[in-house]
Structure formats: C-alpha cells, structure tokens
C-alpha cells in the first residue's frame, strides 16, 4: 500500500508541475504592473524556483508528518485545514448515496433474477439500461426543474436555507435533509443501475449452481433456498464492487457539487485547479487516492469476514 501511495504522489506531482501555466504566471497574467522581477519573487515564495525533484522531495518530507503545505491562494491557509472543513460534506453525500444504492439496487436485482423474464424483470432491465446511460448532471437539471422550479418542493442549491441560523435543531436537520435529497439521489443514480444489473447477473449465476439444486432436492421451501442459500453467495462480490466505486463517487462530486453549489471537496478541487493552487490540488489527489485505497481495504476485510473460503485459503 505504501509503494502504491508513493507511485500516486509521483505521478500527480509530475503531471501537475509539468503542465503548462504556472501559478506565478497566473497570478501576474492579468496585472499590467507586473515585472519579470515580481514573477521571480512569486516563484521563490511558492518554492517553484528549485528543480522539480527537489520540490517533490521537500513536499514528500512535509507529507510524512501530514503537512500538506500552505495554499497558494491569497488566504494562505494550511491545505489540510481547507480540505478538512470540506471533506465531511462530500463524504456524507457519498455515504448516503452508497446507502441508497444498496437498499434499492440489491432488492431490484434479486427480484429480477428470481422472477427471470417476468414483466417485472423486463421493466427493471429497461429502467436499468436507461439509468446506466443517463448523464447524472442532466438528470440533476431535470429534477431541479421539476422539484425546484415547477413544484417548488425542494431548494435548488446550497446546503442550508438563508434563515438556517434561526431554526430549531429539529428544523435544522429537516433543512439539511431537504437540501441533500437531490444531490444524494443524483449521485446515487448511475451506481444504482450498475449495481442492480450486477446483482441480477450474479444471482442468475448462483441459482444455476449445484448446491442450490441440492437445497431444492432436500425439500427446502423456495423462500429459504433463494433468500438464505442463494442470496448470501450472490451478494459477496457486491462488497468488492462497492470498494471499487469509491473513486467514481469522489470524482463525480466535482460535477454535482458544482451544479448544486455545495461547498464540498469537489468544489474546492475545481476552484484550486482553476487557480493553479498546486498544494491544494496535490492534497485533494492524495486524499482522494487514500480514500480509494481505504475503500479497497475495507472491501477486502469485509470480504474475508463474509467468506470463510478467503480466510482459510
């Protein structure tokens, strides 16, 4: 895991620092009073005047005690602080959408597989194919139009209403959830279709296995065969899929947070990229990758806990 993380930092660092358009140029580009001298000073201030490998080494040394450096933006705040105040928002939305994906996709996939080729299966297959092809940000626009503008049920953007501070605690929670409904639903939508398709295919595969035939031959009721014997085995790979979906969810947060004007990590990343704020960009990339690795690790552990074959073998 550590070599993997090192590789990630090397690639990110190289890609970002070798790309054209340096922060010093950006900061002076629109200012007519700049001189080459000022650019030089800025480069020195940002530490960009040293050779690339030394910059990387210094960055890595600081990272080893969790110091991500200081943002290039005028506020000059520590990167870690900036990310730390954003990350809970993005994680909350991602965890909620993952939860939504699970509670909808699994029953959908299982019922489709059990009643293979029934009307329900056909309709849900069509729904899944369309859902899979729907651009999330377009769905967001349509839902905003319907629920935000036409019906006026849900707020269009942000995390809280203007009068949020004056609300009682219960109303505050209600206010947050109203703002979160659309973002969570939209970011769950794509994964929902994918996962239910996956569960269906797995379940169909499992139902064909010999041990299901055995269970039926023993005279077990169909309910027990499907929901105890088959379901457990069909759901095992879902753990891995969930782990693998972490980078997609984090990457997607850029789009959804920009549409719904949510001050999360995606929005911070987008703003930093636009401003060439190298330390923040590096911080977001590294933390994103760490979250992905953590997701995979949790998935591996979960798999081992759920499947005795992995532990023994």
């Amino acid at each position: 895991m550590i070599p993997l993380l090192l590789g990630i930092t090397i690639i990110s660092f190289a890609v970002i620092h070798l790309a054209p358009g340096s922060p010093a140029e950006m900061a002076t580009l629109l200012n007519p009073k700049t001189s080459p001298d000022l650019q030089l000073k800025l480069r020195k201030l940002y530490g960009l005047d040293k050779p690339l490998y030394i910059q990387y080494w210094l960055w890595l040394k600081r990272l080893s005690h969790l110091d991500f450096g200081i943002s290039f933006s005028p506020d000059r705040r520590p990167v870690l602080e900036k990310i730390a105040e954003r990350i809970p928002i993005t994680l909350t939305i991602n965890v909620l959408s993952m939860f939504l994906i699970l509670i909808v996709a699994i029953p959908l996939g299982v019922v489709s597989a059990v009643h293979h080729k029934s009307i329900f299966d056909r309709i849900s297959t069509i729904f899944v194919f369309i859902g899979y092809a729907t651009p999330g940000f377009w769905l967001a626009l349509l839902l905003m139009m319907l629920f935000g503008i036409k019906l006026g049920w849900l707020p269009l953007s942000g995390l809280k209403s203007l009068d949020h501070a004056s609300l009682s605690p219960l109303q505050k929670i209600l206010d947050y959830s109203k703002h979160l409904i659309l973002p969570v639903f939209v970011s769950a939508f794509g994964g929902l279709a994918g996962l239910s398709r996956y569960v269906r295919a797995n379940m169909l595969e499992v139902i064909k296995q010999d041990y299901i035939l055995t269970a039926r031959a023993k005279g077990l009721p169909e309910r027990v065969v499907i929901y105890q014997h088959a379901l457990k085995n069909a759901l095992l790979p879902v753990i891995t899929i969930l782990g693998l979906s972490v980078p997609g969810l984090i990457g997607g947060s850029v789009i959804f947070e920009s549409i719904f004007a949510i001050p999360g990590m995606g929005q911070l990343f987008y703003a930093s990229v636009m401003a060439r704020d190298y330390p923040v960009i590096m911080g977001c990339l590294v933390i994103g990758a760490v979250l992905t690795l953590l997701g995979n690790l949790i998935a591996d552990i979960g798999y081992a806990l759920a499947d005795p074959r992995i532990r023994v073998g």
């Binding site: 729907t134 377009w138 626009l141």
Partner: protein, 276 residues
Amino acid sequence: MWRLFLSRFLENRLALLSAIFLFSLFIISIFAPWLSPYDPFKIDVNAILMPPSPSHPLGTDMLGRDVLSRLIFGARISLKVGFVAVGIATIIGTILGAIAGYYGGAVDAIIMRFVDIMLCFPSFFLILAVIAFLEPSIWNIMVVIGLTSWMGVTRLVRAEFLSLKERDFVLAARALGASDMRIIFKHIMPNAMAPVLVSATLGIPGAILTEAALSFLGIGVQLPTPSWGNMLTAGKDNLEIAWWLSLFPGLAILLTVLAYNLLGEGIQDALNIRIE
C-alpha cells in the same frame, strides 16, 4: 465464424436497432452542414429563447441560435470523442497487456503495479486537473481521456495472453523460430481481439459522458463550437425559463450512450463471451 456471429447478432433486435441508430447518427454528423436547418453559429436577435415551434423544431438558445442545428453539429464531437479516446486507450492497453502477459516476471509486475496506481486515482479529478492546465481543445480532451482509461483493456489482454501463450500453436510458432514480436502480434493477438472489441464498444459511452461532463463544467469543448455538454450549460443557466435547452441535448447523450451499451451487449452475446 463471422457468419455465425452475424446471424446471432441479427437476431438481437435491440442491438440491431442500436447499430442502425448509431450508423444514422454518423451519416447525420458527416452531412451536418447540409442537413441542419440553420447555421449553428448564426446569432438571431429576433429569435432569442424561442420555445419549440414549426420554424425551430427544438427551439432556440439565448443568442437565438437554432437548437436542432447545434445538436446535429454537436453529434460530431461526441462521436469523435468516443472513437478517438477509446482508440487511444485500446492501443495502449493492448500493447501493455500483451507485453505483461507474454513476458511475465518483472515486466509484468511493473506494468500491473502501474495499472493499480492509475486505478486508485479518482480519474475525473486527474482528467480535470490536466485538461484545465492544457489549452482546452477537443484533441487534448480525447488524448487525456484515452490516457486515463486504458487500465481495463490492459488487464483483459494480459489475461488472454496468459492463457493463450501456453497453447500448442504458440509452441509450434516458437519451434519454427518465430520472433517474440511475430508470435505476439501475428499469432496470439488475433485470438485475443474479440474481448477487446467488446470492451472498446462498452468503453465508448464512458468517454462520451466524460467529454459531456467536462464541456458542461466549461473546460471541455469551448463555445461557440456546439457540443452536447456545453449546450447543457446553457440549459443550466436558463433553467427557469427554457426547459428545451436542458431536455434535448441530454436526451441526445442518453440515446447515444444507450445505443453503444446495447450494441456492446449484442456483440458480447453474439460472440458468446463475458467480460466484467
């Protein structure tokens, strides 16, 4: 074998329909200048934000440009991105996968570690960072999407090579004194191409969606060139007054992506292979 494939494929009505739809879309985008009712760049101050009507079937945008014409020209971008980006990813993935699978050992370990690293990035973050730094052009977008999406093909081709290189025909070729290059490209590669074809077809929708998302965020295809993604930006800006600006470009993306997915599934079923 091709005959069997074709007869199976033709039985699959949805896949056939998708193929016809995509083919028509290609024809339309090739002949866009002749088929579109208006000039997609022409600003018309007398027709600003007009709802769909007989003269403008899909309405006009905030500069009075015809939405249908822009949609037709936008198809060029999406189709091109799909092909070129996936083409790049497939070439890189096939070569790396072939080398890793054929030679094994340390080469294999290094390549597969690299794959693992690339898979750890939230790829949209990486694409966004690179694209925003480069000059935003359609070619840059296609190259960057291609450079960040070759990992799946690599794994696939490697797995094929691992099993194919043990087969007798490879041994025979080697006994005849064929060079490694010849064995890889002449003998093994043709046998490994079927799953690559499927994964390429199924990879196109992802590339189209990524381009649309980038253009939607304003760092993809730049105005005034129409792309389905940047047309949706106009939809977002006029969300409260012009539903048609949001509805139609999104629908175009959905149908194209859906068609590619169904086509990929159809090819997969007709070839009787499964890829994860």
